[in-house]
Symmetry: C2
Subunit: 110 residues, 2 copies
DNA sequence: CCATTATAGTTTGTTCTGCAAACCTTACGA
DNA sequence: TCGTAAGGTTTGCAGAACAAACTATAATGG
């Protein structure tokens, strides 16, 4: 029987970060200072509603910060990664790498 | 505006493989010739029902093969990765790496 | 100057998915 | 033979992703 490590790795996968759309959002924000709503929508291919709800969840977790500016009378939304968000993303990549590589040490389960 | 590539990468993330429990199952199976049901259950920490349903989905996608042997009157289930499953997993690791690294080229979206 | 279309989001409702509780079947022990 | 354990399967529900519908403001045009 292997150690409990694999189970721990699975549990360590933060679903909030792991979900494909949010993973893409976080990856995009990690690469730039900030981005606006429409840019992220194009980048991810998500519908507006869907993107809004994903951002709301990331905001609730303090992974992104949402700033709304009034520009030309119109409300524009800018997103950026918080330090916590950056940490969570880095930790996630690390968890995935661990899961990938550690599996090789688990041996046969027959 | 960036190319459409990021969107494509997101779309390329196979949810069937991406889901944490199944990712762990596939990673485990990739590391051994085959494993039995109980071994996988311990490895993943999943409940029986949950594991069964995940395996059913992987089986439906031809990613794993399920063999049931009658041993000591009891039905034992053995799982192994199909070539398609192995390919899907490898492709998935590659997609994740691409998403991770390519994000850096997207630049600011402001 | 009013109507239309476009932009930028939010809210609402449906559908799908993961999860565990309950159930089934066979074997084993007292 | 009655109870308990092992090994899975089926069912029901809570939550999450997704898009359609809605709101609000700004540019366009007749």
């Amino acid at each position: 029987m292997p150690s409990q490590a694999p189970f721990i790795e699975i549990a360590a996968l933060d679903r909030l970060v792991h979900e494909p759309a949010r993973l893409a959002i976080l990856a995009a924000l990690a690469a730039c200072r900030r981005a606006d709503f429409v840019y992220l929508q194009r980048l991810t291919g998500l519908s507006k509603g869907n993107l809004a709800s994903h951002l709301a969840k990331l905001d609730a977790a303090q992974y992104v910060s949402i700033e709304k500016h009034k520009a030309r009378g119109r409300m524009l939304t800018f997103l950026s990664l918080t330090p916590a968000g950056r940490d969570a993303l880095e930790a996630h990549w690390a968890s995935l790498a661990t899961l990938r590589d550690e599996a090789r040490t688990w041996g046969d389960g027959v």
